[in-house]
């Protein structure tokens, strides 16, 4: 007999004031900060100021990633140029469904591709964050010239830059997902934005 399988619902909703304290704690975790352009600890006042500006900034969208109604991470987008948005994300919790990072990657592409006026999705990754670099390469992001980085933990790094032509995702989503473990494909069908 085949076992009945269920997969987590990935729900993305706009960040609200009620999420602020949780996101502040997530963002200040060392494992999160180390992969950010700005790795300094963020004060509560700075966090509130960031949220305040976000309210009146139509060029940026920040979503909370809920897995079966439980908040586990953040997905954000910002307008970069005509037809281009930049994205970033992190998982704030460590006890998550295995493969949740892939769901963030798929959600970002789905969200951008659903907006017909957008032509490409832009991403920057600090070069030591190799797991994300590999994931972008797996999905078929095109590398752009690196940008200069600085020093992190006494080691130099550069900023790896990537772009994804959204028409490619619109055409090839099914083919790309078919290369992933089948439970990821199934869970990708349960990605929702509100």
């Amino acid at each position: 007999m085949t076992a009945i399988k269920t997969y987590p619902i990935s729900h993305f909703s706009a960040l609200t004031a009620a999420d602020l304290e949780r996101v502040w704690h997530w963002r200040n975790q060392s494992e999160i900060r180390r992969n950010m352009h700005n790795d300094a600890t963020i004060s509560w006042e700075e966090h509130l100021s960031w949220f305040d500006k976000l309210q009146s900034d139509e060029s940026r969208q920040v979503f909370i990633f809920k897995q079966n109604d439980r908040p586990i991470g953040v997905l954000n987008f910002s307008h970069r140029s005509q037809g281009v948005i930049e994205w970033g994300c992190y998982l704030g919790e460590t006890d998550v469904w295995p493969g949740s990072g892939l769901l963030l990657e798929i959600a970002a592409l789905d969200y951008a591709a659903a907006q017909i006026e957008l032509s490409s999705l832009y991403a920057e990754v600090l070069s030591f964050n190799q797991s994300v670099v590999r994931m972008h390469e797996f999905f078929g992001y095109q590398p752009l010239p690196d940008r200069p980085g600085q020093m992190r933990n006494d080691e130099p790094y550069v900023v790896n830059v990537f772009s994804y032509e959204l028409n490619e995702w619109r055409k090839n989503r099914t083919r790309v997902l078919a290369r992933l473990p089948k439970q990821i494909c199934a869970a990708a069908d349960l990605i929702q934005f509100t």
């Binding site: 076992a3 009945i4 006890d95 295995p98 990657e105 590999r134 994931m135 992933l180 473990p181 439970q183």
Partner: protein
Amino acid sequence: MKLEQTIRNTLAQVATIANCELIADITDDTVLLQSGLDSLGFAMLVAQLEEDLGIDPFSQMQIAVYPRTFAEFVTIYRQAQQGGNE
């Protein structure tokens, strides 16, 4: 112990395939997301363990809290093998 060794062996195989560098010593308390295996690697690990063990507890069991550490990951597979659903 056999189950834990199976998981450790599969973890090592998947890390090689996924081009991930695991940390030197994975203990019971190692946080999975800090083990060196990336998200694709974990998805591959779960898929390979389903091939090897015939179970995918993350889609076949009602899991209230997903595992954070290696020990918790092994425990979930042990419960699944025993037909548990805790």
